[in-house]
């Protein structure tokens, strides 16, 4: 038990879409510098969880606390100013703006507590320096994902929610992304990573939460998760499934 309260604590979170409970009492916490993996079958509520924490949806029950403050239902831009940011499964950069302008907007409006970022350095760490003056529309999908990450990092987040950044990347790109994510965490940022690639999750995370039907069914390290009977059942189907 660490004496410091966690940076993010999610407590009994509920999100309904009509009669469907996408989140059904989800609870977990996350500490600074930690990489927490969020895994589970399709439709288990992983992206919904990120959408609620990042202010896209207001929660229908339960609470989200960030740095000791209840943040459920705050609009996204306010959450960005508090130090929460995210990447998108399908990145939607500002297509008609240049790569540099994309990052400059986030730098200008993100209220980074460490002051304005050095855009060239940030772009260089994400391999975007050579395309800095191109329009975002001209980038390939891997580059657009990196630009989405650059947009998030420019705001100086303390909590970064990463939604399937690795999907669609080739093995060399995957290795680079893994290194980059670990480096971000080393700088003290708390990371919540949603991913389908279990090898990737196992390599980068300190801890994982396995979700099913809107709630957590396992919490611990990845190596134990794959031994857990409930987890195996959720992913591969149980004997009693008809």
């Amino acid at each position: 038990m660490s004496p410091e309260p966690p940076l993010l604590s999610v407590d009994g979170l509920v999100k309904r879409f009509g009669g469907f409970r996408a989140l059904d009492g989800l609870s977990f916490h996350l500490n600074p510098g930690e990489i927490l993996g969020l895994v589970g079958p399709n439709g288990s509520g992983k992206t919904t969880c990120i959408n609620v924490i990042s202010g896209l949806y207001a929660p229908d029950g339960g609470g989200v606390r960030f740095a000791g403050r209840a943040i459920g239902g705050l609009p996204s831009h306010r959450l960005v100013h508090l130090g929460i940011n995210r990447t998108f499964q399908v990145p939607k950069p500002f297509l008609s703006l240049t790569v540099r302008e994309n990052v400059a907007v986030a730098d200008g409006y993100g209220r980074n507590p460490r002051g304005p970022v050095d855009i060239d350095t940030l772009l260089a760490t994400l391999d975007l320096r050579p395309v800095a003056e191109r329009r975002a529309a001209e980038l390939n999908s891997a580059q657009q994902k990196m630009l989405d990450l650059a947009r998030a990092l420019a705001t100086g987040p303390r909590l970064l929610l990463i939604d399937e950044l690795a999907a669609g990347l080739n093995p060399a790109e995957l290795d680079r992304v893994a290194v980059q994510i670990k480096e971000i965490a080393r700088s003290g940022v708390a990371l919540l990573v949603v991913e389908h690639l279990m090898g990737f999750i196992g390599e980068i995370t300190d801890r994982v939460i396995v979700m099913n039907a809107g709630k957590e069914i396992f919490e611990g390290v990845m190596a134990d998760a794959i031994q857990d009977k409930r987890v195996v059942e959720v992913f591969l189907g149980g004997e009693d499934e008809g």
């Binding site: 896209l56 939607k92 950069p93 500002f94 703006l97 994309n102 907007v105 409006y109 705001t155």
Partner: protein, 306 residues
């Protein structure tokens, strides 16, 4: 900001100087005045459509609200023209505030709702039951404040301020934030931008521009009917001019007005049937082959259009 200064000196100054000198060289002052009106309205469309992506089919509603705000202040409050001008701007701003819920809609739904709103304002203004207030359908006469020379100068000042606003948007952080919102509102929010505030500010700026233009138009012509200042063709012209040249640029709407309004006046009045044919074909060609206007032709060749 050197680019702000450069574009002010190279675009705004020559434009204003040319239009200030033109009445001395060219006899048709009404035509010159209309050029100023459409230059201002096209830049107003540029602010709301070019920078936020909302296409207001009822943009003329703000123009008409401005004209009637001006007229009512003159008729009922005996206000001086410059005070009445402020009243016209305020009327358009109030209409803009009233219509902010429309910004929840997007695409064609927004455009149609805005068109309906403008028609509703026209119906209210031209209601015979309101004759004692608005003169209903019988029209307005403001002969007491008729001063076309001064009105021309004021219209030019409004055009200058509007063009400067667009130059500023083109080069400012706020203008870039608006373009980010236009491209993707969710990503923009995750860049820390207050999306609702950005949209409302752009919307009200566009409303104010049209309101002031409508006010000065009412002052200049001084005799008009509701249909004169709420006519749908005013919106259509402003939109087509802005789109033809290219939105989210400074020069695009200016080129659009100079070229298309030029064609309109060259052949539209002498041979209206050919004009309508050419104009119709032009708009179709534009939508099909050049949706981002003339500016995109140059941009494709790597030339940055200011």
């Amino acid at each position: 900001m050197p680019r702000l200064l450069r574009h002010t000196l190279l675009i705004l100054l020559p434009l204003v100087a040319a239009l200030a000198l033109a009445p001395a060289l060219y006899g048709n002052h009404l035509l010159l005045f209309n050029v100023i009106v459409f230059l201002t309205l096209a830049q107003g469309i540029n602010i709301i459509y070019g920078f936020t992506g909302y296409l207001p089919f009822g943009y003329v509603g703000f123009f008409g609200a401005g004209a009637y705000g001006f007229a009512l202040a003159v008729m009922h409050l005996h206000a001086l023209p410059l005070v009445a001008l402020a009243a016209g701007g305020l009327a358009a701003l109030l209409l803009g505030v009233l219509l902010t819920p429309l910004l929840r809609l997007s695409g064609a739904y927004f455009s149609i709702a805005n068109l309906a709103a403008a028609l509703a304002v026209l119906q209210i203004v031209s209601n015979p039951a309101l004759e004692s207030v608005t003169k209903g359908p019988y029209g307005i006469s403001l002969s007491g404040v008729f001063d076309p020379a001064l009105a021309y100068g004021v219209a030019l000042a409004i055009l200058a301020a509007t063009t400067f606003l667009v130059i500023w948007l083109r080069h400012s952080r706020f203008g870039m934030a608006l373009q980010a919102i236009r491209e993707d509102a969710i990503s923009a929010a995750m860049a820390g931008i207050d999306v609702v505030r950005g949209r409302v500010v752009a919307w009200l700026l566009a409303a104010l521009v049209a309101g002031l233009t409508g006010s000065v138009y009412a002052w200049y012509i001084s005799v008009f009917y509701p249909e004169t200042v709420f006519g749908g063709e005013i919106t259509i012209f402003a939109i087509v001019f802005a789109l033809f040249g290219g939105t989210a640029t400074i020069l695009g709407p200016i080129l659009g007005v100079v070229i298309l309004y030029g064609i309109y006046n060259a052949i539209g009045i002498s041979a209206p049937q050919y004009f309508q044919l050419i104009y119709g074909l032009l708009i179709m060609g534009l939508v099909l082959f050049l949706p981002n206007g003339l500016a995109s032709l140059l941009r494709r060749r790597g030339i940055d259009v200011p």
